[in-house]
């Protein structure tokens, strides 16, 4: 806590020994701003992917579909039998036969709105809602095969798994990208700090000559780079946030339909400048002590 207060309060004696401007100042500002911008976008993408994965998992895990493809004269009897079986099965919360009009809407994207639905022999579809841990799928499938041979139970597993995997993969990719951004930020700021320290070699020589301890010298550089990185990251994060808020208005594809931050997730973009400051602090400190170890 004391260290944090010292960092915020600063040390005017230490700070004024470092020239106030320079190429490395702008480099740090731009690099941290750009990295924060990317970090906020990737955070938004990762969090959206995570939410999407949860939604798909929840929605598809709690429903199933029974498809009955039978000749017209036996179709209704098999539907009735399937509904009876389902109503007796523990773990089934509800059933609903999907009417032909609704099936026509589902097929419309492929066959158009004027599909002569009555002229087609469509299978009967029964939407099944599961409750609790769901039914014993193996047992239910065997019973359906025995009592309604035309009925096929689809528990959505083959749809759900790849979609959830894809969304989780996107989430993992986002986390990896964030890690890489943190590393690149650290390396960039360490290089900028090293360049600043090298450019101020005479300052360091003079300070060592008059009896400055290493922590006095590093304090001057570390605070400056930390605040500069935090400032640049705050600007980059703010610009990214504005754009993230605007994205849903211009995109309507599945993965971005929920793009952005929701609820407590807003804390993450706010933490980006803080993370940039922490990274800058340690990167500059590392670079400073490394440089100072070369000076007697």
């Amino acid at each position: 806590m004391k260290f944090l207060l010292d960092l915020l309060r600063g040390d005017s004696s230490a700070e004024k020994v470092v020239p106030p401007t320079g190429f490395t100042a702008n480099l740090t500002l731009i690099a941290s701003g750009a990295m924060a911008f990317l970090a906020v976008f990737i955070l938004a993408l990762g969090l959206s992917a995570g939410r999407q994965a949860d939604v798909w998992e929840d929605a598809l895990a709690q429903t199933g579909t029974v498809r009955i493809s039978a000749p017209a004269d036996t179709l209704d009897a098999q539907v009735t039998r399937v509904l009876e079986i389902l109503s007796q099965t523990p773990g089934v919360g509800g059933t609903r036969r999907i009417p032909n009009e609704e099936q026509a809407e589902l097929l419309a994207p492929w066959f158009g709105d004027d599909l002569p639905i009555d002229a087609l022999l469509l299978p009967a579809l029964i939407e099944v809602e599961f409750e609790g841990g769901g039914p014993d799928m193996v047992g239910l499938k065997q019973r359906l095969v025995a009592e309604a041979p035309a009925a096929v139970l689809d528990d959505h597993d083959r749809w759900r798994a790849p979609m959830v995997n894809a969304a989780n993969g996107l989430r993992r990719l986002a986390n990896l990208s964030l890690g890489l951004i943190a590393i690149v930020t650290a390396v960039t700021i360490a290089l900028a700090a090293s360049a600043a320290l090298a450019a101020n070699g005479q300052v360091i020589d003079v300070l060592r000559l008059v009896g400055a301890e290493d922590r006095f010298i590093t304090r001057a550089f570390v605070r400056r780079f930390t605040l500069r990185a935090a400032g640049g990251a705050a600007m980059g994060a703010l610009i990214a946030l504005v754009l993230v808020v605007l994205v849903p208005n211009v995109a309507d594809v599945a993965v971005t339909s929920d793009f952005g931050f929701r609820g407590l997730n807003w804390i993450w973009p706010i933490m980006v400048p803080v993370a940039a400051a922490v990274i800058a602090f340690f990167a500059t400190r590392f670079a400073a002590f490394r440089r100072l170890s070369e000076v007697s």
Binding site: S13, A14, K16, V17, P19, P20, Q202, V203, D205, V206, L207, R208, L209, V210, G211, A212, E213, D214, F216, L292, S296
Partner: protein, 237 residues
């Protein structure tokens, strides 16, 4: 003012025992042994390249001896960590021939640096600063930047910076190397005044006439670096 300070041994403020220094693949000097007694005034002389600057740097821990021991205030500098070296340097004022400063700070701020780095508020030393700047004749240049100073002014500013902490020892490496004779005498006078205040002085110079000037005013010993060894110069000086 002539009082025994912390770490001062009876033998010396700075002591070198059998010191050898290899530099760039050759031996600069070997078996160098001498002690700067508290309050003493020594000149270090010798031809260019003999190792005067290296010897000065050994005394304040900027370089480490290849062999032998260097003691500063009774402590072996070889075994000091970086913070201890920094603490030791606060008791040693150093003036180099090239007088390095922090160019974006004013002369006054540069002179106050040894106080700033200790964490003390420079404002506490304002009175001392004014007196010191008057002593070295730079009171009107306090707010100037170092690049605006002449060679002699830089030397005097460096001397003011070296003594603002009232160090026990002042090491001056060719402090008159870049100035005219009149300025050399003025700088010499300042060093003699410091010595009279009880400071231990080691002044490296190749200027024999300066040493003769000093010997008429102060009890100074002359160490001569020759053929890789240090010897006490005799009456020929």
């Amino acid at each position: 003012m002539r009082q025994k300070r912390r770490g001062m041994t009876d033998t010396g403020a700075i002591e070198l025992y059998s010191v050898a220094m290899d530099y760039g693949g050759r031996t600069l000097f070997r078996d160098v042994t001498f002690a700067l007694k508290p309050g003493s005034f020594h000149f270090l002389t010798g031809p260019s390249g003999a190792g005067k600057t290296t010897l000065i740097k050994l005394c304040y821990g900027e370089l480490t001896a290849s062999e032998g021991r260097v003691l500063a205030f009774g402590e072996d500098t070889t075994h000091m960590d970086r913070d201890a070296i920094a603490q030791m340097r606060r008791r040693i004022g150093v003036v180099h021939q090239d007088c390095r400063f922090i160019d974006h700070l004013s002369v006054a701020e540069n002179v106050l640096l040894p106080i700033s780095v200790t964490g003390q508020a420079p404002s506490d030393a304002e009175a001392n600063l004014a007196e010191l700047m008057g002593w070295v004749g730079l009171e009107s240049l306090s707010n100037h930047l170092p690049p605006e100073l002449s060679g002699g002014e830089r030397q005097r500013a460096a001397l003011a910076r070296a003594v603002i902490m009232s160090p026990d020892v002042v090491l001056a490496d060719e402090p008159t190397g870049n100035v005219d004779w009149e300025m050399s005498l003025r700088i010499l006078s300042l060093l003699i005044e410091l010595n009279k205040l009880g400071k231990t002085i080691l002044c490296a110079t190749h200027d024999m006439s300066l040493i003769r000037q000093a010997k008429s005013r102060v009890s100074a010993r002359v160490l001569r670096l020759r053929d890789g060894r240090v010897e006490l110069a005799g009456a020929e000086l």
